[in-house]
């Protein structure tokens, strides 16, 4: 009996809605916004190479984004070999600016990296922290240098490969 009453009440309600005058209807237009852009891509074309420096010397070396190596502290010196800064090609949006940062410094072989320096799109060298770097479009080059501190335990013939991470995101 209760079920029948409920069905009857719903039927009345539906009938009432169907017979409602047009003046009581409300329509909302919904716009779905969506933008399409090119995903960011980072292509590393070169790692950093300090060449050969003095063995057994606790010294800190710096490689500029131009690839030149100098001694920051200590008695060690660059001695020989080809040197180069890292080079990363960034491609993506033609309109979205970039946030570039560096982190994850990881020592290896008694050599600790720090103080990465960058030069983006032909600009001057600066700390690798860009709040709004130019949109990369088809490709812009990020040159990366850094400091490395050797603890002096490295014997002649030793090599080390400390690392760090460059991260790029759209703003």
């Amino acid at each position: 009996m209760r079920t029948k009453l409920l069905i009857a009440a719903l039927a009345v309600a539906i009938t009432g809605l169907a017979n409602a005058p047009a003046a009581f209807s409300a329509t909302q237009s919904v716009t779905a916004n969506i933008r399409f852009d090119t995903p960011l891509s980072l292509t590393k074309t070169a790692d950093i190479d300090f060449g050969s420096v003095t063995a057994g010397s606790a010294s800190t070396y710096r490689i500029a984004t131009t690839g030149s190596v100098s001694t920051v502290s200590g008695t060690g010196a660059y001695l020989t070999g080809t040197t180069q800064a890292a080079s990363i090609t960034i491609a993506g949006s033609a309109t979205q600016t970039l946030n570039i940062s560096v982190g994850g410094y990881t020592a290896q072989g008694g050599v600790t990296p720090s103080n990465a320096r960058c030069a983006y799109n032909g600009g001057g060298e600066q700390a690798c922290t860009y709040a709004a770097a130019a949109a990369p479009a088809a490709g812009k080059v990020l040159l990366v240098g850094a400091d490395v501190a050797a603890d002096g335990t490295q014997v002649a013939g030793a090599t080390a490969t400390p690392t760090f991470t460059v991260t790029v995101v759209y703003n």
Binding site: K44, D47, D49, F50, V53, A55, T159, T163, V168
Partner: protein, 175 residues
């Protein structure tokens, strides 16, 4: 009914916000690349000078050109005619060059006091082939250094007691 419409509208707006926020989100997509910093350690080359160039005592009327070969033979020519004698080349011991190709480069000539137009010569054996600006293989080496120079009028070489000490730098450069 009005409450239901309001609920629907809020739900649609929430969806709209979600859709517009996703593409610009800096955390949604964070490409990163690891940079490796390669560094090699070597023992620096050493150069130990065992002796300087010595031309001994020159006597005469004043020489226009004086040359000391890496074999120590001294040759002078000028208004007094040809003169030949014996001097001492500079001897330098080089070590720790490993397998590197090295160059010998002279620079920073300091003459004056009547001595000028100097030019160094070197060889890896006394009197051997001149090694200036010619790359050679690494390894322990003995370098013999001679020099050419010109002497102008009034330098006073003929006095015998006048000690002249022109100098220059000899660099060993890795390639």
């Amino acid at each position: 009914m009005r409450a239901m419409s309001r609920t629907l509208m809020v739900a649609v707006c929430a969806g709209l916000l979600t859709m517009t926020a996703a593409p610009g989100s800096s955390t949604a997509f964070q490409p990163a690349v690891q940079v490796n910093a390669h560094i090699t350690f070597v023992q620096p080359s050493t150069a130990t000078k065992l002796s300087d160039v010595s031309m001994g005592h020159l006597r005469g009327q004043g020489y226009d050109q004086i040359s000391l070969g890496t074999d120590g033979i001294l040759r002078a020519s000028g208004r007094a005619g040809e003169v030949q004698g014996q001097g001492q080349p500079s001897v330098i011991k080089i070590s720790n060059t490993r397998d590197s190709v090295i160059n010998f480069v002279s620079s920073n000539y300091r003459g004056g006091d009547g001595i000028g137009a100097m030019r160094a010569q070197c060889s890896l054996q006394a009197g051997g082939k001149n090694c200036m600006d010619a790359p050679v293989g690494g390894g322990a080496r003995t370098l013999y250094i001679g020099m050419d120079m010109t002497v102008t009028d009034g330098v006073g070489l003929h006095t015998g007691a006048s000690l002249k000490q022109p100098s220059f730098d000899m660099s060993i450069v890795y390639q």
